[in-house]
């Protein structure tokens, strides 16, 4: 069972994003003059080194126009959503009493690789559907929410910043880790509760898709070069320059989602089932990767991240009637057309009704064919989605990372093992399948082979991940099959990957005298500079306050709290050496001569050259 099986719940609404993005901008020596950047993701330090907090904050505000759209962000990201429907096996049901209840989620949006766009994740403590005392599913966190299958060609109308893209978000909740359903008289919740008792069901999966993201709360801004974007950015700059004020500027996405069953052997944080991969030039595919499953006498296709939006009304692109075909074993020729999906079944109304899931009824003979044949979806002569066939065995294998898409390590840590589940027609495969690992350097684009591993009896290939020497961010790609071609690049629509961030040990910082000056300059100043929202809670530049809140600070920054919503620093870049020095300062009596480091806004500096401004705009 999976979210493509029934029972399942649908939810729709919006998602609000409030990240600080200042650390997205690294140095760029190719600019004229060279761009100093704001953050060194390998060393975990703000740039340029030695920049004062006040100067850093001023530069961060000036960089709002063209790129740095939210220097006062908090990283908080939340749903504004409700349960919109249910399906217990008889199709969409909007009469179930759980429909209309709120879907609540509050998480912290953090990129494992600050410069990159493929490693976003949400740290959270609990997700809830419904309300206390009423219809309710309470889901305490076991795994982070991961972003996968970023589709960079989703929205032809709104191309501002990440507005062009859509993202699949997913996490799963084991049924024996605090998951709770209060069904009362809701047939949908009763069906879910009953299904959870099945031996094959590991828990619940929540998958959602965010799309059509807008900035400055202005849906009229649809390009990165329009004058209105600059006008709105300048208005934000004016607000940010109001002394002692807090001026967040959250972005918003539309979203659809599904709550369904998490089957044993399915990855927790990315889609399982069968993948029908996007075709065409990487990052420009006309249709995004879809997922499919033959279940209940039908083929259920997840188009949640697939069909583009083309106008201000968020209309779906008409692709004609889509033909769903079963292919020959090698995927080369059509064996049978299983059915067709006309536009009304994938238009916007349909998308909102069933969160992008399309059900294609099959007769029993078609089911038999569809279960084992490669699938292909197209329209006329256009082929949009193809299920990959692994040669020479012609098996329908694909890799999916089990639970750890983003891995954090400290320099000097022992290697950790990460599992890549190989799915065969959507189910966990067996032993002996070769899985290949490649490194990917996203600054140069280079891909290079690393090693291979064979699957174990659960169909999982295990790879040791070593901590880097010094700070670094590494990315690994995975393919399946001894003859698999080396990936040309990391295309999130077609590539399985993990990111590994190693924080430097900073042993020299750990060895410093725990004076206020050392603690501020080597530990606290970077967060004081990069996270002005902290001023709302604690003056990180004030030794008396920092010391007075020492107990809370230690609790929030403890390595054991890393997965929690309230962990500090939110961006997870506290090095072991920084932690050691901070704790030594907190544990010692406060020197009464310690003085606050003031962080008032400095006077405005000359604006950046236009070429730099325009170039940087593309990196937001």
């Amino acid at each position: 069972m999976s979210v493509l099986d029934t029972p399942r719940l649908y939810f729709t609404g919006q998602m609000v994003w409030d990240p600080i993005v200042t650390n997205n901008y690294g140095p760029d020596p190719t600019q004229k003059p060279p761009f100093p950047g704001f953050y060194d993701e390998a060393a975990c330090i703000p740039l340029p080194p030695g920049d004062s907090v006040a100067n850093f904050r001023r530069r961060a505000i000036e960089f709002v126009d063209p790129a740095n759209w939210n220097p006062h962000g908090t990283h908080r990201s939340n749903f504004l959503a409700r349960i919109s429907g249910a399906d217990t096996g008889s199709g969409l049901d909007r009469s179930d009493p759980v429909v209309g209840t709120p879907a609540d989620f509050l998480g912290m949006l953090v990129d494992a690789e600050p410069y990159g766009t493929f490693s976003s994740q949400l740290f959270f403590d609990e997700m809830q559907f419904g309300i206390d005392g009423g219809y309710r599913i309470t889901c305490p966190r076991t795994f982070r929410v991961m972003s996968r299958y970023v589709y960079f060609n989703r929205n032809s109308h709104n191309t501002v910043k990440a507005g062009i893209a859509s993202v699949i978000w997913q996490t799963s909740f084991p049924k024996d880790c605090g998951l709770r359903l209060d069904a009362h008289d809701s047939p949908a919740l009763q069906a879910l509760a009953s299904a959870l008792e099945d031996e094959d069901v590991a828990g619940l999966t929540v998958r959602w898709n965010t799309y059509r993201t807008i900035y400055y709360d202005d849906p009229e801004i649809v390009t990165n070069s329009g004058g209105q974007l600059s006008i709105d950015a300048q208005a934000l700059v004016a607000k940010l320059n109001i002394p002692d004020s807090f001026q967040p500027n959250p972005a918003r996405s539309l979203m659809i989602g599904v709550v369904g069953l998490w089957r044993k052997g399915e990855p927790a944080c990315e889609p399982g089932d069968r993948a029908l991969l996007a075709q065409g030039t990487p990052f420009k595919q006309p249709v995004g990767t879809a997922f499919a499953r033959v279940t209940g006498g039908a083929l259920v296709v997840d188009f949640g991240n697939s069909v583009r939006e083309i106008d201000a009304e968020v209309s779906k692109q008409p692709l004609g009637t889509l033909s769903v075909c079963a292919m020959s074993a090698d995927g080369s020729t059509v064996v049978e057309e299983l059915g067709s999906i006309p536009y009304p079944q994938y238009d916007r109304d349909s998308y909102l009704s069933t969160s992008g899931l399309v059900t294609l009824p099959l007769d029993p003979s078609q089911c038999d064919i569809a279960v084992s044949s490669p699938l292909r979806i197209g329209s006329g002569s256009d082929i949009y989605l193809v299920e990959p066939v692994v040669a020479p065995s012609n098996r329908l294998l694909r890799p999916a990372v089990m639970t750890q898409q983003n891995i954090y390590m400290d320099e000097g840590d022992s290697p950790v093992s990460t599992g890549v589940q190989i799915l065969d027609t959507g189910y966990a495969t067996t032993s002996g399948i070769e899985v290949n690992r490649y490194s990917f350097d996203d600054s140069s684009g280079d891909v290079a082979p690393v090693d291979s591993a064979l699957t174990d009896s659960n169909g999982i290939a295990w790879f040791d991940i070593a901590a880097a020497s010094g700070g670094a961010v590494h990315c690994y790609l995975f393919t399946v099959g001894a003859d698999a071609a080396q990936p040309a690049t990391l295309d999130p629509q077609t590539t399985s990957y993990v990111y590994v961030r190693t924080l430097p040990s900073d042993a020299e910082i750990a060895a410093m005298e725990p004076t206020w000056e050392n603690v501020f300059n080597n530990v606290l100043a970077k967060w004081n500079a990069m996270a002005p929202c902290m001023d709302n809670w604690l003056w990180l530049n004030d030794p008396a306050q920092v010391h007075a809140y020492g107990g809370i600070l230690k609790k929030l920054t403890a390595a054991g709290a890393f997965e929690t919503y309230r962990y500090m620093p939110v961006v997870r870049d506290m090095t072991p050496g920084e932690r050691t020095l901070l704790y030594a300062f907190l544990d010692a009596p406060l020197d009464p001569d310690s003085k606050p480091f003031r962080a008032a806004l400095a006077e405005a500096a000359p604006r950046l050259p236009e070429s730099t401004r325009l170039s940087r705009a593309m990196r937001a």
Binding site: D244, S245, D535
Partner: protein, 339 residues
Amino acid sequence: MIRLQATPPNNVDDAVAMLQAAAGIEFGTLPPYLYAKFSILPGTNAPASERLTDVINQEMIHLCLVCNIINALGGSPELKPPSYPCTLGDVGPPGGDPLMIRLLPFDPSAMAQGMAIEEPEEVPPFPMLKSMAQGGGAMTIGQYYALVDAFLATLPASAWTAGRNQISDAQFFPGQLFPVGNYSDAHEAISQIVSEGEGAKDDPLDFQNELAHYYRFGEIFHDKVLTKMAEDPGYRWGPNALGVDWSSAYPAIADPGQHDFSRDSAAAQAAQDSCNTAYSGMVDALQRAVNGETGQLGAAVRKMFELRMAAVAALQVPLADGKSVAGPSFVYTSGSGAC
């Protein structure tokens, strides 16, 4: 419940005056609710604290929505910080005393007061409303809003000015705060305010299927989760406990505004000064924000955080009796703006 004396509005100025009074109530509920929340010991009473936070946030939203309506009608919202204890305009039940609203620390009486403020009464159907509109008299907050709403429905489109000094959800309270530019928007705002405070008709849930304020206070007061049941009346208190620990609260005095701090330590006096400075700064910034000054809502929120930090500090300074502390008095001291 709060009962308000009102006569039917005859013109836009009357309606604005009624809305101004309503804004005063929304604003006036914040200090007592904040006082109770601030006085919870950190790290304790999470479900109660969460419910109070939700209520406080919604009261702030209600205040902004009422100000949006006033602005759309051409008025200029005025925030008038009350001195506690006060009635917030309550006239009391027939022959009875008005509800005296106090600053109470986190205890059952503070939650009972919250229930009393938010206590619902079935919103009358239109004929009854019409009768009331003819005669005027004392009414609940919900009825009061209904009276205003009925008048607003009669206004021509030309009475409304879209985009005038409106506060949207661009920065804060996403999805819950919206500009008012016509009667439809105003009606939606009033419906949201009434339903979130009192619940929908015959239902503890508001129009968004979430628990109304009265019942959130009730859950804390009873230390029971309001739970759906199959039989009438559809809900019951419990059986699950909410998890309230009344002892996990600072030993804060009630009504600190009436306390003579001159007998307390300099630290206690300084702590009160810090609270009042932050509160007054917040009021001033909010006053500017609801009258259309760009960026001032962000300044008000910043002051709100300063008030929270000042309150946390104040609640740790012993008073002269050596056993009690005081939270913020919510005394407006600026003299420069709101009043």
